[in-house]
């Protein structure tokens, strides 16, 4: 099935496939780790067991998510060598240390304290246990920081020189780490992770409110999630706008593709709401446009001229159709999230937050939306960087390893089969965990959190708790 693809295309497909799967898990675990830390802090502070019960409930789901994130992340860290070895050789002196710092400051911290967080409450006591939870949460944020720094450097490279072997030589590490797009990208991604988690938690809470299981716990998590949506969604839209302006400054071709501007607009660009990009003819078919709004958003001036892709050589165009659509999917979901957040505020004001079934249904429907938005966002930024790996300096075609197409297609096929099987099973288990909110007054040690629980029940207790293991 892959005869028509060369090794570069196959390597790109493999990277896109594995990184798309991978990003799902960190997006969820960054938000969930912070949520767990907040829940445990509230428990320690207010001494209300509902927070501990929620902590134990989400801890189990976190453990499954984190496990999937670890294994899919290891694949990523080796793929630079197997499929993109020329990139690794050339950009390694800069990307490598950034990722090295991620391992040293974040991975070990998360992995080291994860065991204590999942298994250690009885062994270390609540305070040290909270410390472990906080370390895991901080670890996920530090990890995001380094990865976003490395990725941003590939988008807006600064602080380097080239040597005679064609390698990027670090000159100014400060400029490399804090490259121009890094702060925008980091904020946008972390907020996206928080929103994604909020909508998953909110969907779970709403589901149980609709089913009237465990009302207290469902109420608490739904209310917390809706606060998050109402507060963070508008912030995210602002952050996204700022990120877009930064991209316009440093990667104009990407924005032209996202906005569908094949042509330059000397006196005010429209905003293309919808349409079908026609790359061959270099125009948007069936476009629905709002005149001047594009210039207003991007330049904050109705009549500001906006350059189009016609100012850039064809071979340097990003794949317009892909990023035109992925960008719209992301923005659309962001606006829908804002809508839910405002709706929840209105219901809260009227006192119907716990009882409005339509809000709950909408929240359930929006549960997976964050993942779609995160994926769409990454597609926009990564595909928009094409045809470069290091923007403006290293072409994707010149980054690929000297590998043969059959080797890449075989491994791609293997990854596709393994990922769908393994992560499909994981998603199934997570959904089942979410569907099964424990009884409202569950004594914590009676049943125990499941991962931790599974752990070492002897034959006797395994019998008495059997029904809890078969989820």
């Amino acid at each position: 099935m892959f005869e028509s693809f060369d090794a570069t295309m196959l390597a790109r497909m493999q990277f896109a496939f594995t990184v798309s799967f991978h990003i799902i898990f960190p997006a969820f675990s960054i938000g969930l780790a912070s949520y767990l830390a907040v829940l445990e802090a509230l428990w320690l502070w207010k001494k209300d067991d509902v927070y501990l019960e929620l902590f134990n409930f989400w801890k189990t789901i976190f453990a499954v998510t984190f496990g999937m994130g670890v294994v899919s992340g290891i694949v990523m860290s080796y793929q630079f060598g197997t499929n993109w070895s020329v990139f690794a050789d050339k950009a390694g002196p800069i990307i490598g240390p950034l990722m090295g710092y991620e391992v040293l400051t974040a991975f070990f911290l998360e992995a080291g304290f994860l065991g204590v967080m999942l298994f250690g409450l009885n062994r270390v006591g609540p305070k040290l246990h909270f410390f472990a939870t906080a370390m895991v949460a901080i670890g996920t944020l530090i990890s995001a920081t380094w990865i976003l720094s490395a990725n941003s450097w590939m988008q807006t490279p600064t602080g380097f020189a080239m040597n005679e072997a064609g390698q990027f030589m670090p000159v100014d590490w400060w400029a490399i780490v804090f490259n121009p797009s890094f702060p925008f990208r980091l904020v946008h991604m972390v907020l996206a992770a928080y929103l994604t988690t909020a909508f998953v938690v909110g969907a779970c809470g709403a589901w149980h409110l609709l089913r009237k299981t465990a009302p207290r716990r469902a109420r608490t998590m739904f209310s917390m999630a809706m606060w998050m949506a109402a507060i963070v969604a508008p912030i995210q839209i602002f952050a996204g706008d700022q990120h877009g302006l930064n991209t316009l400054e440093h990667q104009p071709a990407k924005v032209m593709g996202m906005e569908g501007h094949f042509e330059s607009h000397p006196d005010g660009a429209p905003l293309v709401l919808f349409g079908i990009p026609n790359t061959a003819e270099k125009r948007i078919d069936y476009a629905i446009e709002v005149p001047k709004l594009g210039s207003l958003i991007l330049k904050h001036d109705l009549d500001a001229p906006l350059a189009g892709l016609d100012t850039i050589p064809d071979e340097l165009h990003p794949p317009v159709a892909v990023i035109f659509w992925s960008f719209r999917v992301m923005v659309g979901i962001g606006l829908a999230m804002l809508g839910i957040g405002l709706w929840s505020l209105w219901c809260r004001y009227r006192g119907t937050l716990d009882s409005d079934p339509w809000l709950h249904r909408a929240a359930v429907l929006m549960g997976p939306a964050g993942f779609v938005a995160v994926l769409a966002g990454w597609v926009t930024t990564e595909v928009g960087r094409q045809p470069y790996t290091v923007y403006g300096h290293l072409m994707t075609a010149n980054s690929v390893a000297p590998i043969e197409a059959p080797a890449v297609s075989a491994s791609l096929l293997a990854f596709i089969i393994v990922y769908f099987f393994v992560f499909g099973a994981g998603t199934f288990y997570i959904l089942r965990l979410m569907a099964r909110l424990p009884r409202d007054t569950m004594p914590e040690l009676d049943e125990g959190p499941i991962r931790a629980a599974g752990v070492a029940h002897g034959p006797a207790s395994a019998k008495s708790h059997g029904e809890h293991h078969e989820l």
Partner: protein
């Protein structure tokens, strides 16, 4: 003062890989031994003995790989394409076994599936690592900053032997770990298995050690020439010492001694490989200095590593300390 940064980094990477081998070695070993313990209760205890620490153990592999890209990008960019198939196989093995830690507790009907994922994934990962080691030892040709061999070069009788040697060696680490962490019948059976694995490991180490010097003239010179021959005399003697402690520890039913002695065997085997390798990063093509990243990269990451690695070791030690002692099946790690 002038520091030889590439050499310092070679030592740090070597340490990270060694830490990975001994730490993930025993938890992979527990997976390799899974088929020998058919009862669910035994398997629960075995898995619980490593569940709180395996994440941290595996992180050393990420440091080994990620660190290699940071400080020896050329080695990273030539070794990984050369070992394409075994690396992909290792990754797939690690995926299956890593998720098994979570999934196995979530289902009764499919538990057998995740038992196999854990055992099979552990074996595949270990075997692939052994093959990769063998392929690296027998040499990787490099031309114009790229791998210059063909796609099946890694598959030789020698690499298959090193693959088997690693599986057997990890099984030994796993068995002695279980001796240390479990009680009763399970520990007794682990003891019997450890004894068998111990002879198999020594046999495999012997074959690999005697074979290695004849792969490359450099290795032969290193092992039988003066003054490095001192090491080639001392290392086998130390191996015999470890073997003695290992067997004595198993026979006299000590808890920790067999595990520590097995770790000793691994460290010695590793030093042996290091003696063959030096000064190469990618034998026989790239030396440590040829493969190194620019000084600026080495210095930037070293500054952090010098502070962070001791901290990592401290809290990793703390995590092990929290879960010290025998796994108590009745208590569980709630």
């Amino acid at each position: 003062m002038n520091f030889d940064l590439p050499l310092i980094w070679a030592a740090i990477i070597a340490f990270a890989v060694l830490a990975y081998v001994v730490l993930d070695g025993f938890d992979l070993g527990v997976g390799i031994l899974f088929p020998l313990f058919p009862e669910k209760h035994d398997r629960d205890v075995m898995m619980n003995s490593v569940a709180p620490v395996w994440d941290g153990n595996e992180t050393w592999l990420v440091l080994g790989g990620g660190g290699l890209m940071a400080v020896f990008p050329l080695a990273y960019a030539t070794i990984l394409p050369a070992l394409y198939a075994p690396i992909i196989a290792m990754l797939i093995g690690l995926i299956f076994r890593g998720v098994a830690f979570e999934y196995r507790w979530r289902t009764k009907r499919a538990e057998f599936l995740w038992n196999w994922a854990f055992a099979g994934g552990s074996m595949l990962a270990a075997f692939a690592q052994g093959i990769a080691l063998g392929a690296l030892v027998q040499g990787i040709p490099v031309e114009n900053r790229a791998y210059a061999g063909s796609w099946w070069d890694w598959l030789t009788p020698f690499s298959i032997v090193t693959g088997i040697a690693i599986v057997v060696g990890y099984a030994l680490l796993g068995a002695t770990w279980l001796v240390m962490k479990t009680r009763g019948d399970l520990a007794d059976r682990a003891r019997a298995i450890a004894l068998k694995c111990c002879f198999a490991t020594i046999g495999a180490m012997g074959v690999v050690s005697l074979w290695t010097p004849f792969l490359e003239p450099v290795y032969l010179q290193r092992w039988f020439g003066w003054p490095t021959a001192i090491f080639s005399i001392i290392v086998p003697l130390l191996v015999l010492g470890c073997l003695y402690l290992l067997i004595k520890g198993i026979r006299e039913r000590y808890d920790a001694q067999p595990f520590v002695a097995a770790l000793g065997l691994f460290v010695l085997g590793y030093i042996g490989i290091g003696i063959s390798f030096y000064p190469y990063m990618v034998p026989p093509s790239l030396t440590i200095w040829e493969a190194a990243a620019p000084e600026e990269s080495l210095a930037f990451l070293l500054a952090g590593a010098l502070v962070l690695v001791p901290i990592i070791l401290a809290y990793t030690g703390y995590a092990y300390w929290v879960f010290r002692g025998k796994v108590d099946p009745e208590e569980g790690y709630h």
